[in-house]
Symmetry: D4
Subunit: 173 residues, 8 copies
């Protein structure tokens, strides 16, 4: 079992994406993890252009201390499913509406429709922010402090809605 | 913090579904949890027919010791997303191709396309088995014994493929 | 039973939406109600970010005198269906093609495909104007003056078409 | 204004459908109205095979005392929209997955996607039961007894869920 | 039977559309008819905003000498099908991708999926030019001069392709 | 110009289909033509398996006296469009939901979405009967007797609806 | 370079599939290769259940003498694309409509929509027979005998159509 | 059999497209062939506007020394399938999202869903680059030098990913 000190130093979430063009979307996951003070690593792992790098990444992920993997990809998006096939860690898949994509349907179905035995926790199209939050929720399963922070975060979100409500109440139509 | 004894007695995964007709699908999640010796509860919570029961279920879920919620529903499937909106626990959504469904598209999109701030970990259409496995993976984040069992399970699955391979190799076309 | 004076003072239609970004679309409903001199209230009620506010809104809606609820939402749009599950009032759902949406299919199916027992009167994508008109039609069921006004409104619409016809008849191709 | 006696005798809801093959679906609306003791008429009005009968039906509907029209049709389903274009009454559209239909998509889009100015209150595919309930909700806007009955109906539905819950709680997996 | 003189004076093709915003698309049909020297009329006939005008137009169309009707509409596009239900003339339907439309799917399915007994000759999305050509082909069934002109037109189109071929053959990549 | 005697002897409508498995659908077109006493020929012309036969068929179609071609095909359905590219006659396309088809979407889009310059008059999925009626309408453009027969046919169809109406009026729910 | 004798002994086409349930579809490819006397091997290689076996298979495929790989899979079908990412051989992908599939859309998009750099030659849904023929065409690029056999095969197919034509010509409707 | 000299002089890949507007997409295939020093020809062959030119092109393609045909088209894209029906050469189809297209679905299904007996090797929407690579792979079946070049090309692609990885590793979020 890791000591708290290790926990601080080593990344516990791996954020990977199929192409550098996915960074704009995937950095939302990083920002959420940063907000919750969770160490993460972020890199490019292309299932199709660097398949052996992908296999290697997935094989050693849990051994090097990662607890959750967030994988984003567009088009025929094989990265999340292939990493889930190799690593025993929970894999969160982010379908990305890339320029090659058919309105995002290809990414969604390629990531979501995994066969029995190999789940990918799929979030909405381009929803890297939700992928980050889901990773936090998974880590909070045994970490009540983190759970408390999640509740606070939700209250902040709710407060923002309250502000929007005030503004709309003052609007004349 | 819970003692190991509590852990054995109290369910850590809640499996809920919108209608009794979903039991045939959702019991696959229960069987996986049983296989991994993880205590679970299974019941019907209808977002549309028993909305206040749903709110209550989601509100007390983490307080009573649940760590993960698996929610299955068909058609305009609001159960997973609404429970995710109320509970801080990770929620795994199982889109179900019910008789009312338009080839499952309605269930998939209603569960998957959650707005930023409220993720649902969506699995494939009818893939309650994968929902169960994903719950096990989440619980294994801090439980190395469970992680080992997951690896064993995968090896069994792989062994079954090996058997299929032998059979096909002996087939004449 | 309400006196006419109460009727003037208190809103009879509640217009709600999931996010402030929906205001541009949903104000069309307000403008129609204003045109027909029907008192309304308009606010933000997020099923996912403020679930308990949503439950509260739906629970007291008919008690405080609302007769119809118009609810607009995008993506995995649970607001109309959840309000319909709690309130006995007729709920009109407006699917909104938000930036998160997959061409609007997710909003449409999440709102339309409600299970038996809990109807939502769904209108076209982004058609808040039609939601307003449908609310007027519902209120006109027992209000012949309002029915007359609806007929006048239709004649005006028809007159606009007549003007368009004149213009096209004078166009040379 | 009608006396209560007239009310009992004359239908207030008109249920129409495009073809005799739609009866199996549309009778669900009739059964709901019967349950709530609301007088209705049910007949076939084909937009495509009897267009003038359709125009006539829509023109006199409100004059003869109807308050709501429920119209079901499959394929290129023009009946609900055309009746809504002619009658000032609220029209509830039921998309039907007929044998000619492409998985119901044609019926849904033909009924739902009405232009601004002419709403149709669309319910889910084949959801004639919900069309009936929506008609009851519209009539209950000014009829508190009917509203009470609706609440009772919901409690019965909820009670059925409770029974399902008991049964599933006793199931061994 | 008409004399040649009548034929020249009176329009033989009626081009109608649901809204003035459709003119930009539908004028392509007019330009083709003009090219082939076929007298036509063009106007707005809205199935939903001017339903009785539509019925009237369809009822007298063949009596006043029209031989073919071209009808364009977007969204829940009922105009072509309803005119085809009333008039015995062949009706060519042009699905229009209007601003309200869901990528054109609603217009296509509303026009194409007519029930047995009432055909609409549907052309591609926004393909008013093809609607014009199809009308010419129908009129050329008994008019060999027109058939000859159609063949010439095709040869011109082919010649344009030849020019494009020359240009691409000279391109360096 | 043909004499009436030639007209009786020679087929004026050519019904072609891509495969023998399409006969069950396409014979509906033949039955309609038989009903209206219009001579037709029916045969198999496969765009993909007999491409040169297809070219030949399309090249001589109008020369041998055909006035209209009805072409049915499933999957990637190229027959109607290719015949329309070669023959100057109006071509009616019947998308067929074959066993290879993806719910008919492939057939519909392959036939409907023809480029500008080469129209195909597309009817609904499997709607060979409507293809037959559309051919009759095209031939009736200059044949008032045939137009009268079409009107009679419609009255018969309407009479059948009247019978259905009587039956439903006597039904108890 | 291989001697003719080696060529006879060693398989030149590898047929792989994700699951034993795909055999019924994929054996069609084997039967075509057998017909053309092309040595092949057929086995199960699951991208998700045996990922390392898949990597190994793809890595040594061209070294052991395979010239073409045919890969069939259903649902989130990653096998063809992943093998294409590792092996330099041309990979033919067969989307399979498995029981888990959403009408085959998931398999098609997962196989077809590969990013630039890694092509998969995708054939129609379930079209393993065409995958076999495409492999033969690829091998015939430098083998004129095989090309001649392909032409003969086509003539046989054409002859079967001729027989169907005779039969339909004798049918009375 | 060709001598090496012939091989250098005569094109071995024919790149054809339905319209000059497709050049921007299709030139990507040409650039790949140029990169691999494979002689090619590129021209416009419209299935619908120049059908006989298409037949001629396909009939003589293999006779004049072409080994592979790459055909791109949009909308109801018949060019790849029709050329595949006439020529015994392998045909690679490139679905193009033209301005007429419905999000590319029409092009994809028209090219992909070929019936048994006539395969088209379909690549992703607009993926002319992949079509070029697939042609190279087919030619490399018996040309080990070309196979080596393909492997080098892949290593270059992989190297580019490595550079992207370095850049993302230095990015601060």
């Amino acid at each position: 079992m890791e000591t708290p000190v290790d926990y601080i130093r080593k990344p516990v979430v791996g954020i990977i994406m199929g192409s550098k063009s996915d960074v704009e979307i995937m950095k939302e996951a990083a920002l959420i993890l940063k907000h919750f003070n969770i160490p993460y690593e972020i890199t490019i792992v292309s299932a199709h252009r660097t398949p052996l790098r992908m296999v290697g990444y997935a094989q050693i992920a849990h051994g090097k201390g990662l607890k959750v993997i967030i994988a984003g990809a567009g088009g025929a998006a094989h990265l999340p499913g292939m990493v889930a096939a190799i690593s025993p860690l929970p894999v969160i898949g982010v379908p990305i509406k890339s320029s090659n994509s058919i309105d995002g349907w290809d990414s969604i179905l390629s990531i979501l429709q995994m066969p029995n035995g190999v789940p990918v926790a799929t979030v909405a199209l381009n929803a890297a922010k939700n992928a980050g939050l889901l990773a936090v929720q998974m880590l909070a399963i045994q970490d009540t402090d983190l759970l408390d922070k999640l509740q606070e975060y939700r209250e902040q979100v709710q407060q923002e809605v309250e502000n929007d409500i005030k503004r709309i109440n003052e609007t004349k139509f």
